[in-house]
C-alpha cells in the first residue's frame, strides 16, 4: 500500500471565470483520517475534491504528499481512488471488469488481478452479480461497485463526492454504516464531500465546513456540533433558531440578550459588549415548552414520531422552532425557556 503520513493542501485556490470557487483551502490530512467537506451547494466542496483528484487544475496553491508535490501530476499518476456522485460505472463492462479496470491499468499479473477483484467483490457482497452489467443493478448495488472499484487499488486516499445523494433515505442510512465499516476495516484515508450535516457528523473524524469557497471551521464532529465558530456554521449544524437580538449585559462569557420578543441568557461566541447586535442560536430541541418562560403563540405543529416539531411566533412576530412532547393546538399560548449553556450568541 502506497500510504503517506500526511497530505497537505497549501492555499489551494480555484477560479472559474474570474470568480473564486475555492479561495485558499489549507488543510493537513493525516494517514487513516476520515475528513468530510461539508457545505451547501456551490460552496466549493466538489471543486476541492476535483482539485485533489487532479481533475481540475489549481489556480494557485499546491498539494503535497509528504515531500512530493502532487498538484502537477495528472489524475492517473496520483493513485487516488474516487467515488463519483453518479457512480460513473463503465456501462459496457460487467461488474467484475469494472472493478478490475484499475488493476489491469497497473498491468498486474492476471492471478493477482483475479484474487484482488474477488476480494473486493466479497467485501461489498456482490459475488453473485459479478457478471452483470451496471445497468442491471439497483442504485445501492451500483454504489457498492463504485466503492469496490475505488478501494480495490488500496489507494493512499479515497475521494467520495456525495456518494449517497442518489439513494433513497433507507438505503442511504445502510450505505452510510457500510462506508464507515469499510473505513474501519481497511483504514483508508478518506475525503468525503457532502451537504448533509448528519452524514458528515456520523462518518467523519474531522469536518471542514465551507461557504462561498472559504473555510468557515475545521474540527471534530463534537466541536462543530457544540461550538460552531460562527452563525453560518451554526445554521448548518442545526441551530434552526437564529434570532436577531441586542446585548443587554455581559458577565464574563455569559451574556444577557433581548429582542425579538424574548430575553435570554447565553454563551458569547467572540467578544461582545452591551448594545451590540447579535444572533442568538438555539437548536429546536434545546428550546423547551414549560410553565415559566417567554410566552409564544403556536402556529404549526408537525408530528415527528417521538416528539412534535412546533413553529411558534413571539410577541414581536419572530418565528421560533421548538420540540414538544404533548401536542399543543395552533393558536395556543405556551411558554418557552432555554438553558443558558445551550444558547450561543454570535456577533451579527
Amino acid at each position: 500500500m502506497s500510504g503517506f503520513d500526511e497530505l497537505r493542501l497549501d492555499g489551494v485556490r480555484r477560479r472559474f471565470g474570474g470568480q473564486d470557487a475555492l479561495a485558499g483551502l489549507s488543510l493537513t490530512i493525516r494517514r487513516g483520517e476520515f475528513i468530510a467537506l461539508l457545505g451547501p451547494s456551490g460552496c466549493g466542496k466538489s471543486t476541492a475534491l476535483n482539485c485533489l483528484a487532479g481533475l481540475l487544475p489549481l489556480s494557485e496553491g499546491s498539494i503535497w504528499q509528504d515531500g512530493t508535490r502532487l498538484d502537477t501530476l495528472p489524475p492517473e499518476r496520483r493513485g487516488f481512488g474516487m467515488v463519483f456522485q453518479n457512480y460513473a460505472l463503465f456501462p459496457h463492462l460487467p461488474v467484475r471488469r469494472n472493478i478490475s479496470f484499475g488493476l489491469q491499468m497497473r498491468r498486474l499479473p492476471r492471478d493477482e488481478v483475479r484474487r484482488r477483484t474477488d476480494e473486493a467483490l466479497r467485501l461489498v457482497r456482490l459475488e453473485e452479480h459479478a457478471g452483470k452489467l451496471p445497468g442491471q443493478l439497483s442504485g445501492g448495488q451500483q454504489q457498492r461497485v463504485a466503492i469496490a472499484r475505488a478501494v480495490v487499488l488500496e489507494p493512499s486516499l479515497v475521494l467520495m463526492d456525495e456518494p449517497l445523494s442518489n439513494l433513497d433515505a433507507k438505503l442511504r442510512l445502510e450505505m452510510r454504516t457500510e462506508i464507515r465499516r469499510l473505513h474501519q476495516t481497511l483504514g483508508l484515508t478518506t475525503v468525503y464531500v457532502t451537504h448533509d450535516q448528519e452524514e458528515a457528523l456520523s462518518l467523519a473524524d474531522r469536518l471542514v465546513v465551507l461557504r462561498d469557497g472559504r473555510v468557515e471551521q475545521i474540527g471534530t464532529p463534537q466541536e462543530l456540533h457544540e461550538r460552531p465558530a460562527n452563525r453560518h456554521v451554526a445554521d448548518f449544524m442545526g441551530y434552526r433558531n437564529l434570532l436577531p437580538m441586542k446585548v443587554k449585559a455581559v458577565h464574563g462569557s455569559t451574556v444577557t440578550v433581548d429582542g425579538s420578543g424574548l430575553t435570554l441568557e447565553g454563551v458569547a461566541v467572540g467578544a461582545l459588549s452591551p448594545g451590540d447586535d447579535v444572533l442568538a442560536g438555539i437548536r429546536p430541541e434545546d428550546l423547551h415548552a414549560g410553565e415559566h418562560g417567554v410566552p409564544v403563540t403556536v402556529e404549526v405543529v408537525e408530528y415527528q414520531g417521538r416528539e412534535l416539531a412546533v413553529e411558534a411566533r413571539t410577541s414581536a412576530g419572530v418565528a421560533v422552532h421548538l420540540r414538544a412532547i404533548t401536542r399543543p393546538a395552533p393558536g395556543d399560548q405556551i411558554a418557552v425557556t432555554a438553558e443558558p449553556a445551550r444558547v450561543l450568541v454570535f456577533p451579527s
Binding site: G54, A88, F90, G102, A150, L153
Partner: protein, 292 residues
C-alpha cells in the same frame, strides 16, 4: 355500454382517433415512395426480351456493366471509412466546451451547403492540372509536371470526402457528447492514460454510433453521380453504378435495364448496411450515461 367499452379496449391497444394524424404522411409515403419503388421493381422484371430475369442477366453477363459495382464500392467504401476515421479524432478533440467551438464547427460543416456541383468546380480549379495546388508544387520545385488529381478516381474520392465528412463529423460529435464525461474522469483516477481511456472506455461506447455513421456516409457515397461525371472519368475508372443506370434508362431508353440496375444498387447497399449493423449488434449498445 358495450360501445364505450370497445372504444376503451381499442384505446388501450393504441387505436384511437389520433391515428388519423398518420394519414397525410402515410399517403405521401405511399404515393411518392412505395408506389414508384414497387413500379420500378415491377419494371425491372419486364424487359423487352430475355424473360423475367432478362434485364438482370444482361447486367451481370456484361463485364462493362457488372464491374460498376466494384468501381462504386471501390470509391464509396474507402471514402466512408476515411470520413468516419477522420471525424473521430477531430470530434474527440472537440467534445468539450471551448472558445470558438461554434465557429470551428461551422467551418467544418460548411461543405454540406455547397452541393456537389460547386465542390466539383472548386476541385477542378484548385486540384486541376493548371490549378493552384499543382502550380504551387511546381513553383517550389517539388514537381516537374502537374500531378493528375482530377478527372480520375482521386477527383471523385476527394469530392466524396469533402461532402461526406461534415455528415460523419456532426453525427459522431453528437454521439460523443452523449457519452458521460465523468466516465473518462473515473478511468483517469483508476490510472488510465489518455490512450487507454479512449481505447477502453470512449471507443467501445462510441462504436455503435460509428457503425451507424459509416452506414449513412456509405449510402451517401454509393449513390455518387454528379461528381463522378464532373471531376471523374465517367467512361472509365469512375463509371459508377448510377451512371450505368442513367445510361440504360435515359440514353438507351431501356427502362427495364435501368430499373434492374437501380434494384441491384439497392441490394448492394442493403447488403453492406446489413453486414455492418450485424457486427454492430455484437457490441454494447445500451446507455452511455450522457445527455443522449
Amino acid at each position: 355500454m358495450t360501445r364505450v367499452a370497445l372504444r376503451h379496449r381499442l384505446a388501450e391497444r393504441g387505436i384511437d382517433r389520433q391515428l388519423w394524424l398518420l394519414v397525410p404522411g402515410l399517403a405521401c409515403v405511399l404515393a411518392l415512395f412505395v408506389y414508384p419503388f414497387a413500379y420500378g421493381i415491377g419494371l425491372s422484371f419486364q424487359p423487352a426480351q430475355g424473360g423475367v430475369f432478362g434485364a438482370y442477366r444482361e447486367f451481370f453477363t456484361d463485364a462493362y456493366q457488372r464491374d460498376t459495382i466494384a468501381t462504386t464500392l471501390g470509391l464509396s467504401l474507402p471514402a466512408a471509412i476515411l470520413n468516419v476515421a477522420a471525424s473521430v479524432p477531430i470530434a474527440y478533440r472537440m467534445r468539450g466546451r471551448f472558445r470558438g467551438k461554434r465557429l470551428l464547427t461551422t467551418i467544418l460543416v460548411v461543405p454540406i451547403t455547397l452541393g456537389t456541383v460547386l465542390t466539383a468546380e472548386g476541385l477542378l480549379n484548385y486540384l486541376g492540372p493548371a490549378g493552384w495546388f499543382n502550380r504551387f508544387l511546381m513553383a517550389v520545385g517539388l514537381l516537374d509536371e502537374p500531378v493528375r488529381l482530377t478527372n480520375n478516381y482521386w477527383g471523385v474520392f476527394f469530392s466524396l470526402v469533402i461532402t461526406g465528412f461534415p455528415f460523419a463529423f456532426l453525427l459522431i460529435l453528437s454521439y460523443l457528447s452523449g457519452i458521460d464525461p465523468t466516465l473518462e474522469r473515473a478511468a483517469a483516477t483508476l490510472g488510465a492514460g489518455w490512450w487507454q481511456r479512449f481505447r477502453r472506455i470512449t471507443l467501445p461506447l462510441l462504436a455503435p454510433g460509428l457503425a451507424t455513421t459509416f452506414c449513412l456516409t456509405f449510402v451517401l457515397a454509393f449513390s455518387v453521380f454528379p461528381s463522378a461525371v464532373l471531376v471523374g472519368d465517367p467512361a472509365g475508372t469512375t463509371r459508377v453504378i448510377s451512371i450505368a443506370a442513367y445510361h440504360a434508362a435515359y440514353e438507351a431508353y431501356d427502362y427495364p435495364l435501368g430499373s434492374a440496375i437501380a434494384v441491384v444498387m439497392g441490394v448492394v447497399e442493403l447488403f453492406v448496411v446489413a453486414v455492418v449493423l450485424g457486427l454492430r449488434s455484437l457490441l454494447y449498445t445500451g446507455s452511455t450515461g450522457g445527455k443522449g
